[in-house]
């Protein structure tokens, strides 16, 4: 299975000059589709095993096994990893397909598909890894792929800046992961995942005890990794900037797959987290905070992709919260439905951006309802699923997470409430997007499209800075595409739309438990896995979810369709709050002031002052000064000495060498 994306990467990378036309795209898509088929085959063979034997490990070769460290290249196949590879390869196939049309006019077409296939390879490595070492490798390689794709249009300084930001924050996450691994390795003496879990349950961190200091430290450090990858506060600032990448990339990596790796990580490490309740609490609180804060920022942003990015953060907040309170199946269920509807939303957004000739500002959009009927339909489906309106998929998955939170009672009730407030915000900002982009008076581009012409910007500009684009590397290229005009895009979006509508039906409370049952073998030791649903709470949750979602939509309709003046009035009235949201709660400024500026200042001090004064003048000056101290005679002796010494050594060693060559 790993072989297919690898082959795709290599073919696209080496054939960048020779591959005719758009064939790289089809090769890339085919490779991922084959991987998807392989994933299905794995699923079938795994289901052939009895539920107790559904954790298969296969070691390929010794990687760095020495001195008690057992780093091997080993693959772990169990229901959780199969669940993940099905989502990853399935969604990836569709997005590759979409990209064939979307990236058609781009100069870097082959490079794009090479990177994209490389990403899928890394992601599969991450979810299939059978030990910590390989997990870290996959973890970092997806970060690298993400970096490459964010900086894909590398002549834009905004894109390269966003790329380095994403990379560095991800490295912070990698460091968390490595250090966390050390803390755990210290007690378990193995890097293998299953052996680690085994050792843990056998009392590597103390028998029947929770909250061992090293374990909690290790788990919190693993969480740092998860937060960095999944864009949770305060390590989230890279994700909105990552929208500099091509839209299908945002759809695949920064919505559907890579950013959910943190959720996967917590679910994978559940035997550890179960014993470290304080780490679980940290995860739950950060998840809840992120879902709320990201929701409020999403309300005030004007870049269509960034709004969806904040929405992604917010939804992953739900998942992180879910898996942190033990709602593993629910969290992963939401991961799956989110992959469908969020990828769909991004694809639809890509279609609008295409119609706008690269423009991404909501303020310039409007009235695309008639010009882009298919896109509109997809966007509404995705929006309803995101807002959690029954019977769309997001409804079931989100409510299931909150249900578990409510059941556990205690302070988890706070999470329950936050979750529903977040749901209200979600509906509000989602339909703000829809109403502003598709309703109202059609803008010039929309009218042009209705008349049958696709708008192309004559002088493409960077949507972030207004700077003129350098079209050498493709962006935005002379051609833009909308879903209405490209069959591959249409097909990909249709499939996802079906998923966004129907994926929720696999797990309806009281009716069927497909996900629960499938994942069970992985979570046999998870205490909270079996849900004991109280009827009252269940119906309350379902009703509340529906009402809150509809209320959000209704308010959005009132503000942005009926009375546009309200928005303006509210903006003036709650100026400080609005400023806070528009400026993204000042996280960028905070990190800048606390981390980046001091480090840069220290570096400058080191090179301008310390290096010159201390190293060069005091130490070097001192040494040379001592040598030169006496007089010119001393100096002559010194240089003479060097030569003498050198000559003696050369002669001596050469003589010795000669002597032995004669001897042997």
């Amino acid at each position: 299975m790993l072989a297919f994306p690898l082959a795709g990467t290599l073919i696209s990378a080496f054939g960048y000059r020779r591959l005719p036309g758009r064939s790289a795209g089809w090769i890339g898509t085919g490779a991922i589709f084959l991987a998807f088929l392989a994933a299905i085959a794995t699923l079938i063979s795994l289901q052939g095993h009895s539920p107790d034997h559904r954790q298969l490990v296969s070691s390929l070769w010794e990687y760095a096994s020495t001195a008690g460290v057992d780093a091997k290249v080993s693959i772990l196949v169990d229901p959780l990893s199969v669940f993940m590879i099905l989502i990853v390869t399935g969604v990836s196939t569709l997005i590759h397909l979409y990209s064939i049309s979307y990236m058609e006019g781009d100069e870097g077409f082959c490079r794009y598909f090479a990177y994209l296939n490389f990403f899928v390879l890394s992601m599969l490595l991450l979810v299939l890894a059978g030990n910590f070492f390989l997990l870290i490798v996959g973890w970092a390689l997806v970060g690298a792929a993400s970096y490459l794709l964010i900086s894909f249009w590398y002549r834009r300084t905004t894109a390269t800046r966003a790329g380095i930001k994403a990379f560095v924050i991800n490295v912070v996450g990698d460091v968390g992961l490595v250090l966390g691994t050390y803390f755990i390795f210290k007690h378990t003496h193995t890097l293998d995942l299953l052996k680690t879990f085994h050792a843990t349950s056998n009392g590597a961190f103390g028998h029947g005890r929770t909250g061992d200091g090293d374990l909690v430290a290790g788990c919190i450090l693993l969480l740092v990794g998860a937060f960095a990858k999944s864009a949770q506060i305060p390590l989230h600032t890279w994700l909105p900037d990552a929208m500099e990448g091509p839209t299908p990339v945002s759809s695949l990596i920064h919505a559907a797959t890579m950013v959910t790796a943190g959720v996967y990580l917590i679910a994978r490490m559940h035997p550890l987290f179960q014993l470290a309740p304080s780490a679980q609490d940290v995860g739950a609180i950060v998840g809840a905070a992120t879902l709320l804060i990201a929701g409020t920022i999403g309300l005030a942003q004007t870049d269509i992709k960034r709004v969806i990015a904040y929405s992604t953060m917010s939804q992953i907040g739900y998942m992180i919260m879910g898996v942190s309170i033990g709602a593993y199946a629910a969290g992963l269920f939401h991961l799956m439905t989110h992959a469908f509807f969020k990828a769909l939303l991004f694809m639809a957004a890509g279609s609008i951006i295409g119609a706008m000739g690269g423009e991404q500002s909501l303020q310039r959009m409007g009235g695309f309802r008639r010009a882009l009927p298919f896109t509109y339909g997809c966007f509404v489906i995705g929006g309803l699923a995101l807002s959690g309106i029954p019977p769309f998929s997001g409804f079931f998955s989100k409510d299931e997470i909150l249900l578990v939170a409510g059941e556990q009672g205690g302070w988890h009730w706070a999470l329950y409430v936050v979750g529903y407030v977040g749901a209200f915000l979600t509906a509000l900002y989602t339909f703000r997007l829809i109403f502003r982009a598709f309703h109202g008076e059609p803008v010039a581009e929309a009218r042009e499209l209705e008349a049958g012409h696709l708008h192309h910007a004559e002088h493409p500009t960077n949507p972030a800075t207004g700077e003129l684009e350098d079209t050498d590397v493709g962006f935005p290229g002379p051609h833009h595409t909308t879903a209405e005009r490209a069959l591959p895009m249409k097909v990909a979006m249709s499939v996802l739309a079906v998923g966004a509508v129907g994926a929720g039906l696999v797990q309806i409370p009281k009716t069927d438990f497909v996900i629960d049952n499938f994942l069970k073998p992985t979570f046999t030791d998870a205490a909270a896995y079996e849900t004991h649903t109280r009827n009252g709470l269940l119906w309350l949750g379902l009703a509340l979810g529906t009402v809150v979602g509809l209320a959000g939509i209704a308010l959005a309709y009132r503000i942005w369709v009926q009375r546009p003046a309200i928005a303006e009035a509210a903006r003036v009235r709650f100026k400080p709050v609005y400023e806070l949201f528009v400026n993204k709660w000042y996280f960028d400024e905070l990190i800048d002031a606390l981390v980046i500026k001091p480090t840069a200042a220290a570096g400058r001090f080191a090179s301008d002052v310390f290096e010159r004064r201390v190293i060069d003048e005091t130490i070097v000056g001192g040494t040379t000064g001592v040598v030169r101290a006496g007089s010119a005679a001393v100096r002559a002796v010194q240089s003479g000495f060097v030569r003498y010494y050198a000559a003696m050594l050369v002669l001596g060693v050469a003589g010795v060498g000669f002597y032995f060559l004669m001897q042997s």
Binding site: A140, V171, L179
Partner: protein, 538 residues
Amino acid sequence: MPPLSILLWLPAACGLLGALLPAGAARIPTPATAPGGKVRRPSSPAGIVALLGSLAALGLAIAYIADYKAGGGPQHVTDTMWISSLGIHYKLAVTGLNVILLGMTTLLFAAAILASNVRAGGPPERPRLFYFQLLLAESAVIGAFLAQDLILFVAFFDLMLIPFYFLIGTWGRDPEGSTRVRATTKLVIYTLVGSLLMLAGAVATGVLSAQQGGGHVDFAFSALQHMPLSTGSQEWIFLMFAAAFLVKMPAFPLHGWMPDGYRAMPVEVLMVFSGVLSKVGAYGFLAVVLPLFPRAAVHFQTVMLLVALASIIYGSAQAFTQTDARLIAGYSSVAQLGFITLGIFALNSQGAQGALLQMVNHALVVAPLLFIVALLAERAGGSEDIRRMGGIAFRAPVLASVFLIVALATLAMPGSGNFAGEFLILLGVFKAKQAIAIIAFAGVVMASVYALRLFIRAMHNRVGPGVTPREMTVRDGAVLVPIVAVILFFALYPQLALKRSERSVQGAVAQAQVLTTPRHLSARVTDLDQVFNATSQE
């Protein structure tokens, strides 16, 4: 297998042969124009002899790697009494500590010699002398790695310096704000002070250990290990050796010669200087200091770890504020060598194994990095300032890809061999001194900043004003591609090196490791005896 002396002296012999070739051969006019428009100097027969010699040495080294039996002790031993009255042996052996380093050394020298042959400006002036010096340096480095006698090691260690003294002084260039004479003087004074201290320390070791043993003086490592010095003597001798090795690496705050030295060196020379010579210092710690002065190593463990930590943080902070691409590579080396020192002074097998792997890895990335910097400078109107670069990737996708691989390996991307090394190093340090390991991780994050900054400023963004983007030539590729292939190989299979070095590394750190273990643990078995037996068998 042929005796080790052949591997050792082959480069120098080829250098001598090249130097003895008639000078007239070099003057055959072959008018060829380099892409830059400058006239290429014709390639020199001395250069070709040198290339063949270095390739033969590389082949031999690969044969030794393939032949090395992972479980065994020193192999292919050559042992002859050199100066019997002083107990100095001419003793060479391949051990787990040096076998991979031999491969790395010969690979880098071959690459550097190839680079000097294919550079756009053609081979250097006075090629016969140039190649003689370079090959003499290669022999000296190989000698330092192979030596199993303390005095022999010191002799080769000092011999390394001499060719570089001439190489920089004669073929160097004047860096901004300094001169190559000044740079050379600085370098020589620094390293000479260290070397003389080490020579004194070496003599003292032999004499003192003979006094204690009551017997005759014997400088062979194996003999010295059997007669450990008293703790007090170990400590002051340790400091002398440490001075020499830390200067060579260089480590903060003894890196004062580095900025001028790096900028003054011709790029081929710098490739081996930065890639190989720095490793001799680290190797010295592992192969000489830890086995001979274990008590001192334990005594100074914290100091050394702090020096290493300071090198990491200081080097990284410098690397991301510098704008001279060469100095970015230079300071990043300070940081990377800091990691290596850190691993060695974790005083356990994980750290030392990681350090040894990292020596190879660092050499493999820094040499191509410096060569790429030279290629970039050719495209940026001769300037090595990253502010004058930019936007080359579009016209040079192959160069960009190679650079990207090297940059990612430099920042120890997981999935590269460098990460495997760093992982082991930090794991070792984590076991020894948890707090230091945690702080050292700051260096990991900073590495990602400076490596990517260099890559982006050179390759991405808008095309710089004086920049003429063009692809690298096939000749340049001949230098870079083999090294990158080795980087990729180690990314997939670092076990190759680790498997071979495991036993020797355990032997090297064993005594120090036992001394650092808390007493209640080591007291329960006669660990010391066992360890002693294990090491003396080697």
